[in-house]
Subunit: 173 residues, 4 copies
Amino acid sequence: MKDLVRTYVGLLAGPVVLLVAYFTVPVGWFGPHHPRISWTAFGVLLAVLGAGVLREVRMQVLGQSRHPVPRILVLLCGALVVFSTAYLAMSKEPGELDGLVTKVDALYFTVITMATVGYGDIHPAGQAARIVVMIQLLYTVVFLTTGVTALTRQVKTRAVQRARHREQRDDRR
Amino acid sequence: MKDLVRTYVGLLAGPVVLLVAYFTVPVGWFGPHHPRISWTAFGVLLAVLGAGVLREVRMQVLGQSRHPVPRILVLLCGALVVFSTAYLAMSKEPGELDGLVTKVDALYFTVITMATVGYGDIHPAGQAARIVVMIQLLYTVVFLTTGVTALTRQVKTRAVQRARHREQRDDRR
Amino acid sequence: MKDLVRTYVGLLAGPVVLLVAYFTVPVGWFGPHHPRISWTAFGVLLAVLGAGVLREVRMQVLGQSRHPVPRILVLLCGALVVFSTAYLAMSKEPGELDGLVTKVDALYFTVITMATVGYGDIHPAGQAARIVVMIQLLYTVVFLTTGVTALTRQVKTRAVQRARHREQRDDRR
Amino acid sequence: MKDLVRTYVGLLAGPVVLLVAYFTVPVGWFGPHHPRISWTAFGVLLAVLGAGVLREVRMQVLGQSRHPVPRILVLLCGALVVFSTAYLAMSKEPGELDGLVTKVDALYFTVITMATVGYGDIHPAGQAARIVVMIQLLYTVVFLTTGVTALTRQVKTRAVQRARHREQRDDRR
């Protein structure tokens, strides 16, 4: 029971902290009034996220990745927060992302795009917004592939561990 | 033949009961006229569904899950019914989910969102509706992952059982 | 080389015949002018397709399915043709599927829905059309699961056959 | 470290060259003013891409495919560029692809369709555009299947190689 609680706390602590930060930290300063610093911050954050995912991919290929699921979850939520903030900042420019007003709207648009639902009620209309959406989809594909591989590997590893446990137990009898 | 019928009855009984209940039980009482009880009921039902899925996930990781497919199918149809009812209740508030009128519409919107088709003919416009859609997508991803893992495991287990059967038969000869 | 041609002919013969039949056979008779016979024909064809898929699923679970890919391809194209014809027939009723006029439109709408793209340029507006779209998505999920399982199984079987071939060759040396 | 750089250069060189070529080579000559040559060029390029993918599929089934991921990435980016150019050429005909003006728009529409997001802000309205979108989705499915199979195979092969390495090392001790 204690292990179970620890597992869930380890899984959910990162995402919860990131979401709380997203909704509380004011980001109104970013946007078309300070374009250079805003784009630089966006680029740096994307590079950090990308480096994190590539490190995860490399560790998986080398078989050195233990407990990758919480790390991938944090990276995924980080991407959600970074792209939501970017869309929020872009929406201040008229004709880029009409219909996107609140922080909930920005997160909703990011999730709807990541899940490939795409209702179309909010959609990128400007050139910059369309390029950012394409980058988000590229990140989504890489995250998805890494996440699925990590998950299947973890499930398999545990199954093998359990099988060995049973065999050892049977041998002792 | 008898086994086959029993398998299909076991698979489809739950979903059919849930869908019949959805279309016959009146739920007009829920909605913006009784917001507190409606949201509480929605939260409790989501918690029950979530607990069911997490229990299934845990049983799979521990290798104790036998015949998980019918249970996951019931959980999935339960989620369909709960979210459809929630959208139906929210649609009474103007500006939340315009275009959603009948129970068929609500189920259609839930299915279109779960399958990530997202035509956009019905789409969430209010803040509350957008948050509920995000929750539905989170549930969909968890259900999908659990369901696919369960299915592949069941298919593999049966394949191994068949292989052992054959070997034993061959040894006897 | 001869084997390769035979494989592709075996794979593509069924789909090509079905698509040619779809575009040449006149189906204008079906629709709201003959509702009873149209719906009956639709139901019978869905039952035939469903029985075909379930038979395929059962053969896979029992490990008796050899070369399932061409059969699943024919079933999939059959579903495409049946649903396209159904949408074409329904579009004659105003307010069911506005924007769907030609046979290409109907096939386009079916493909866009099956691939879960869902632009929303054509979308079901009537109750009947929405139910048919939900049925199509249910069929899509079952087809997809069966198809992916069949494909992975076939690839694995061939890999095992190749491995055995090599071992036997090595033993002879 | 040197190996890592070489791997990433090998992976990204092709896609980067193709994207730079897409944005720099003028393609304004293609379109409704030269329909015959435009369609012929499109057909030839599709045939080349299709032949490349089928060759990859065949090599995978025969187990002869080594390092398929960079080749599939180039084929995928090639498809992106070919379809984007086709949509750009078609958009000059009014009523085919309204809302698609720049090269970024064309690439955005191709990516949004390939990722099955489908906002619907740009959508095919003419018969020819709808047929091309259907062809793109067919290519997407084949690419996706091939890519996923290649990736899982490569990950598995490396895992087996690592396991053998370890066993040999353990035997020597």
